[in-house]
């Protein structure tokens, strides 16, 4: 019989969680509540005696100092009470740890049918609180109907003795696992099946798939194992492997590119090969620190003789868009499995985030599934719990608001790991699976979670997207697995390792079995969360926190012993072979038998028409703007803009110092509240070497040209790295593309050809910049279809597409991290320098955006001019002639001078006529142009001569100095004072927009 325990804080303790709900109800909806108290419910669906129940109540679930609890509903006052619990099958992390704890305390084992479920009850008090309002609070604030259910009781409808009642969200499928055959008598039949089963097969692939299964030789082989027509598991496998998410069909596609309408067609065959692979291979030849690229889950670079760093980045957009918390936590925890599954495995040492959402104050007619404000709250919390509970510092991150992300948000997550150069004398970055190796699945169990997640993220989001692909990551289970696998690695037990992410076992086994050229999998051995999954579901389920490992038979015993010590489940589910076949059985009966190389051979290439329209032809021109007279309010307003202002509350809720390696933190300066250009960690604690990391995200320039956007994004990431002391000779890159659908369709995607051309241009910029700056692309991913169809006022729908977005990460090794600098100005009297040329490049700038314009001429990147400057700055920092260095990026010189002043909590005086510039006649241009390649540096007057000598042949000028006074003073070109404002006012403007958030 189930038992339900209610637990709450004693009444004299502040209920911070309830208080948060009260505050949000007021801030978001104007609902005034006088009190919110939370009650935690533990529903124990197990046969426990009264004595046992009392023991777990007092020893585990109730803190005698702070809490009260009872197996009867607690008499907490309310006008409305809202119960919120998970839907069946949704990952309940506290429920699982409760089982562990109860088993330990009572010395029992739960049966397969027994479990613990957690839920919450909120007791709301408010003078005019109706059930309707409570329901709104439940659906808009407390719960997401994709993963949660709720019940509302008023004071009258609530029965104090029974409370909210017992709800057991147990999954009961009552289904016998069945393999079905799929008829393939015609393309149309298979297409129909694809549609009905949500396989998302590309129509062009269908004849190829049929041809394979109709091939006489194939059929003879299949007949020997008792198969004829393809089975559902086989087609699901092909669907996963061929999805754009796994196979990158778009980047591998054929583009017919035209520079303008009517221009000659250039055929671009495979953007990946020409713009990513080719330059990276070329650079790998020149840069001995590049260890492993382009094949594994993450790229590998040399940190020092004994250590390699490992990096990759990805996005988790579609799931986050539907369930922000679940999507984001699954995203960050998921990307952490990539370095863990790189080479023979690496320890995770750092993570970062990038969130792109609609405007937080949006109050228009469109109705996204989650309001951007709520969506942002959710993704922030998801990455917080995922990162913090993994024990991995989240050291860097950016947030960007843009209307285009209303259709689908972007959640970028990046992971950095560290591996020893060798494991027991073998190169750690290499791995292989050999015939005879055991195929072991480690970590979590398999349920229906995430089925068709990969194919869903390869589609435009619509109301028919299956909600089942939303999951909740479990950092606790994964942290145990991480510790276990590293210990196993160090003992030399891991022959091959990869993660189970998109596509689940189908991907991880499909990929790893290519190394041995075959495998046999006994699917019935896969541990399940609950019975009743079909074979194909087990095969493609994306249940999280799992790795696939190849272990030599002689190492299996020790491997499983270590697994048990770490309380991690590991199961031998098959064997690697060299049969050339992927052979899956279930209780001895074959359910899949395919050539192991099927999914990478001979499928037709995707094709795209790409037609560029130069910005002039799209009607862009420079706005006719007179020069402003009130620079003070202009600057204050610029600092308050959502994409410029402080978001300290996010940074502070992420543990950015765990592992004890922090050197340059995300927030720096006298008051430790201004964003650093980049972060630096000391991943090998007894070494002076540092690992520097930065990211840039400036999609605004795509409104003019994605080539411009891409080159500016890469230049910014590079400059950020250089500004803290990064070495221009060692910069590794990670490209993460997020693009709207580029397949032209006259009705559904009329501007598809333009977006395809933007992608071609972006990739070309990536290639050009990487070659010019010498940045091998250590890793990268693409996420297409960043579009959504949002209902409007009349239930009509609007397609909203994201701006073409690239997040670029830069990473590099610093020889001596004690030479690093931060961006804050340090001492009164220091000289203020601007390095690099300011040009009239205001197009798509924050300033124009603020005034409602786009403009035409955006910042151009000139790597051959910039790189020598970056090398000089690197030298100046290394030789300790720079007291601070900061890259001038979004918002221009005005905003970034303000940043260094706020950073040092010190006033400054600057004279715009001294700023190195080219054909610039106006103050607002100097102040707000976003020309690339620039830095602000402050210098001790004693070092003036040496510093200036380093820069004597490039654009660099002293434009003023740091003051002992609290004022920020800027003199215009004509000598007139444009700005004279206390630094504290700047700080207030910058911090106020989100100042109330903690």
């Amino acid at each position: 019989m189930p038992h339900q325990l209610e637990i709450t804080l004693k009444s004299d303790l502040l209920d911070a969680e309830g208080e948060g709900v009260r505050q949000k109800a007021q801030d978001y909806f104007g609902i005034v509540l006088s009190q919110v108290r939370t009650i935690h419910l533990i529903t124990i669906d197990a046969d426990l005696s009264g004595e046992q129940l009392e023991k777990v109540r007092t020893e585990i679930f109730t803190n005698p100092v702070t809490q009260v609890s009872s197996y009867n509903p607690l008499p907490i006052e309310f006008d409305q009470t809202i119960w919120v619990g998970y839907r069946p099958g949704v990952r309940d992390n506290p429920g699982s740890t409760a089982v562990e704890a109860v088993e330990d305390v009572l010395g029992i084992k739960f049966g397969a049918d027994e479990a613990v479920y957690t839920s919450k009850r909120y007791c709301l008090k408010g003078s005019s609180l109706t059930a309707e309002v409570a329901d709104m609070i439940a659906s808009e604030l407390l719960a997401n109907d994709i993963i949660q259910q709720w019940k509302i009781f008023s004071e009258e409808s609530y029965e104090p003795s029974t409370g909210v009642g017992l709800i057991i969200p147990k999954v009961i499928l009552n289904h016998d696992p069945t393999v079905s055959s799929i008829p393939i008598d015609s393309d149309a039949t298979l297409q129909k099946v694809s549609n009905a089963r949500n396989l998302a097969l590309n129509p062009n692939d269908i004849p190829f798939i049929r041809a394979y299964f109709l091939n006489k030789k194939v059929q003879t082989g299949r007949a020997r194992v008792g198969l004829s027509d393809p089975t559902d598991i086989e087609l699901e496998y092909i669907s996963q492997a061929r999805s754009d998410h796994c196979n990158h069909n778009t980047f591998q596609g054929l583009f017919r590119y035209q520079e303008y309408a009517g221009a000659p067609v250039e055929v671009v065959d495979n953007l990946f090969k020409t713009c990513i692979e080719a330059p990276t291979l070329e650079l790998k030849g020149k840069k001995p620190w590049v260890i492993s690229v382009l094949w594994d889950n993450a790229g590998v670079g040399r940190f020092d003789e004994d250590h390699y760093y490992v990096i990759t980045g990805e996005t988790h957009n579609s799931p986050s868009n539907m369930e922000a918390y679940g999507g984001a936590i699954t995203g960050i925890v998921g990307v952490y499995r990539d370095p863990l599954g790189t080479g023979k495995g690496s320890k995770l040492i750092m993570g970062s985030y990038g969130f792109c959402v609609g405007h937080g104050d949006y109050d228009g007619d469109l109705r996204p599934r989650l309001h951007p404000r709520r969506l942002l709250d959710g993704v922030i919390e998801g990455v917080r719990d995922g990162g913090n509970k993994s024990g991995i510092p989240t050291t860097f991150g950016q947030v960007l608001f843009h209307h285009g992300y209303m259709g689908k948000c972007l959640v970028f997550v990046t992971a950095v790991g560290l591996m020893p150069a060798t494991v027991r004398g073998e190169p750690a970055e290499q791995k292989t699976a050999s015939p005879g190796d055991l195929l072991i699945m480690c970590g979590g169990r398999v349920g229906k979670d995430g089925i068709h997640g990969v194919t869903a993220s390869s589609e435009v989001f619509s109301e028919h997207t299956p909600a089942g692909h939303v999951q909740i990551g479990d950092p606790y289970t994964q942290k145990k697995m991480h510790d276990f696998l590293l210990e196993a690695r160090d003992e030399g037990l891991i022959h091959f390792i990869t993660d189970n992410g998109g596509g689940g076992l189908s991907s991880s086994i499909g990929e790893s079995a290519r190394f041995s050229n075959g495998c046999e999998v006994q699917l019935e051995k896969v541990p399940l969360k609950y019975q009743g999954l079909d074979q194909w579901e087990i095969w493609i389920s994306e249940s999280q926190e799992r790795m696939t490992v190849a272990v030599k038979p002689e190492h299996a015993e020790r491997f499983l012993e270590l697994s048990e010590k770490h309380a991690v489940e590991s199961t031998v589910i098959g064997t690697y072979t060299d049969s050339g076949k992927l052979h899956i059985t279930y209780n001895g009966k074959t359910c899949a038998y395919m050539n192991i190389d099927l999914t990478e051979s001979g499928f037709p290439q995707w094709e795209f028409d790409a037609q560029w329209q130069p910005p002039e032809e799209r009607g862009l021109s420079e706005p006719v703007l007179g020069e402003p007279a009130d620079y003070e309010n202009l600057l204050l307003d610029m600092l308050s803009r959502p994409n410029i202002c402080s978001k300290e509350w996010i940074t502070r809720q992420y543990d950015h110092e765990v592992q004890g390696a922090s050197v340059i933190k995300p927030l720096v300066g006298a008051n430790r509240d201004i964003y650093s250009d980049a972060v630096v960690i000391r991943p090998v604690l007894d070494s002076q070497k540092g690992l520097a990391f930065s990211q840039a995200l400036v999609p605004a320039y795509s409104a003019i040209d994605a080539y411009l956007m891409t080159s500016c994004t890469i230049d910014e990431a590079v400059r950020r790295l250089i500004a803290v002391g990064g070495d221009p000779e060692h910069i590794g890159g990670v490209d993460n593309f997020c693009w709207p659908n580029i397949q032209y369709h006259p009705r559904d995607n009329p501007d598809g050809k333009f977006k395809a051309a933007q992608l071609v241009r972006s990739c070309r910029a990536l290639r050009d910049m990487c070659l010019a700056y010498g940045i091998p692309l250590l890793s990268g991913k693409d996420s297409m279809y960043v579009d959504g169809h949002l209902p409007g006022r009349y239930r009509e729908t609007h397609k909203v597409s994201a701006p073409e977005t690239l997040q670029f990460s830069a990473i590099g090794v610093i020889d001596d991290m004690t030479k690093c600098v931060t961006m804050d100005c340090k001492m009164p009297g220091d000289l203020l320098y601007v390095i690099g040329m300011t040009r009239n490049e205001m197009g798509a700038s924050e300033y124009y955006e603020h005034l409602g314009h786009t403009g035409l001429t955006g910042p151009k990147v000139f790597p051959e001019q910039f790189m020598p400057v970056y090398k000089r700055l690197h030298r100046a920092i290394k030789e300790e002639f720079a007291a601070s260095a900061h890259c001038v990026c979004r918002g221009g010189l005005a905003v970034h001078l303000a940043m260094i002043a706020m950073g040092g909590d010190c006033g400054l005086t600057a004279d715009l006529s001294a700023v190195p510039s080219e054909l610039v006649k106006r103050n607002d241009t100097i102040l707000f142009s976003e020309s690339a390649g620039r830095f602000i540096v402050t210098v001790d007057p004693d070092n003036q001569e040496q510093f200036e000598k380093i820069f004597d042949d490039v654009s660099c000028a002293c434009i003023g100095k740091i003051n002992g006074e609290p004022d920020f003073k800027i003199k215009g070109i004509g000598g007139k004072t444009l700005l004279d404002v206390p630094v504290q006012s700047l700080r207030n403007a910058w911090k106020d927009p989100f100042g109330g958030m903690v």
């Binding site: 804080l9 303790l13 502040l14 911070a16 969680e17 020893e59 585990i60 679930f61 803190n63 005698p64 100092v65 702070t66 506290p94 740890t97 409760a98 562990e100 704890a101 330990d104 957690t118 917080r384 913090n388 509970k389 024990g391 950092p475 606790y476 942290k479 145990k480 510790d483 010590k565 309380a567 509350w649 502070r652 809720q653 992420y654 543990d655 110092e657 765990v658 592992q659 004890g660 922090s662 050197v663 933190k665 720096v668 006298a670 430790r672 000391r682 604690l685 007894d686 991290m817 004690t818 690093c820 600098v821 804050d824 340090k826 001492m827 300790e880 007291a883 601070s884 001790d940 903690v998």
Partner: protein
């Protein structure tokens, strides 16, 4: 001189073990990272160690209160061995999640040799969120705490969601009277934080950041001394370096306050 051995627990979601072990090594101890289960199954015995470290992390995901399940598991399986360890005059330090574990084990406050009763708690921060920030701490010079002996005001990072020290006023008075309150959150100028956020980052009653048992040999604190193991961990180090350089000085690459706390533990046995 005999080696002093520190045992640093790992596993089940604990996560500060590497830098904690490193910091103890810097402080002169021999540090061993050991999985909780290896202690439970007897692979290692506490007898071989002088210092036991309950480090930071999210043991069991902190799902039922920070450190609660860890405390339950240790008490059920090796509670007696931990008590023996204490009786032998050894040292225990609990940092963050480890502090939460110590109070849930009842090892703190340890009034009258009672190492089983839970009478203080570390509960949810008043600010309602996890927080990573550096705080200024005042050391109670009258405290019997071994770890804080001779230390002055210092800065250390805090990183927690459940660090609000809470108890009955009577318990707190007793803690204060017996100088078991070893560390308090203060303003930069050393004056009491008096609950003011963010100086007192979590709403701890009486600004309590760390406490010991009456013998001073069991110490728990929310801040992370092991995360200040190098001068460059300090948020102001680039500013300090610049100032020092201008004054003709050399950057201080000496021992950080975090490491000194661990040195005190090592010195206790020498």
């Amino acid at each position: 001189m005999n080696d002093i051995h520190a045992l640093v627990l790992t596993g089940y979601g604990l996560n500060c073990d590497n830098e904690t072990a490193y910091s103890f090594e810097l402080a002169g101890a021999k540090a061993t990272r050991m999985h909780i289960n290896s202690l439970i199954d007897g692979t290692v015995r506490p007898d071989n160690f002088q210092i036991m470290v309950f480090g930071g992390g999210f043991s069991w995901g902190d799902d039922h209160g920070g450190g609660v399940v860890q405390a339950v598991r240790l008490k059920n399986n090796i509670g007696d061995r931990i008590l023996e360890f204490i009786e032998k005059g050894n040292l225990i330090i609990g940092i963050c999640n480890g502090f939460q574990t110590l109070v849930n084990l009842g090892l703190l406050p340890g009034f009258g040799n009672d190492y089983a009763t839970r009478s203080v708690a570390l509960t949810f921060n008043d600010c309602g969120n996890f927080r990573d920030d550096w705080v200024t701490l005042a050391v109670n010079p009258a405290s019997p705490c071994i770890f804080t002996k001779g230390l002055g005001q210092m800065e250390l990072p805090i990183r927690h969601g459940e660090g609000k020290f809470y108890s009955d006023e009577s318990v707190i008075s007793r803690l204060i009277d017996s100088h078991q309150v070893a560390l308090r959150y203060v303003l930069a100028n050393g004056e009491p934080a008096n609950g003011a956020f963010p100086f007192n980052p979590n709403g701890s009653l009486h600004d309590i950041a760390g406490m010991c048992d009456p013998t001073g040999r069991i110490f728990g604190l929310m801040p992370h001394p092991e995360a200040f193991n190098h001068e460059t961990n300090h948020p102001d180090w680039t500013r300090t370096r610049e100032r020092t350089k201008r004054q003709g000085g050399k950057p201080d690459s000496g021992i950080t306050p975090g490491i000194r706390m661990f040195q005190n533990a090592v010195d206790f046995f020498r």
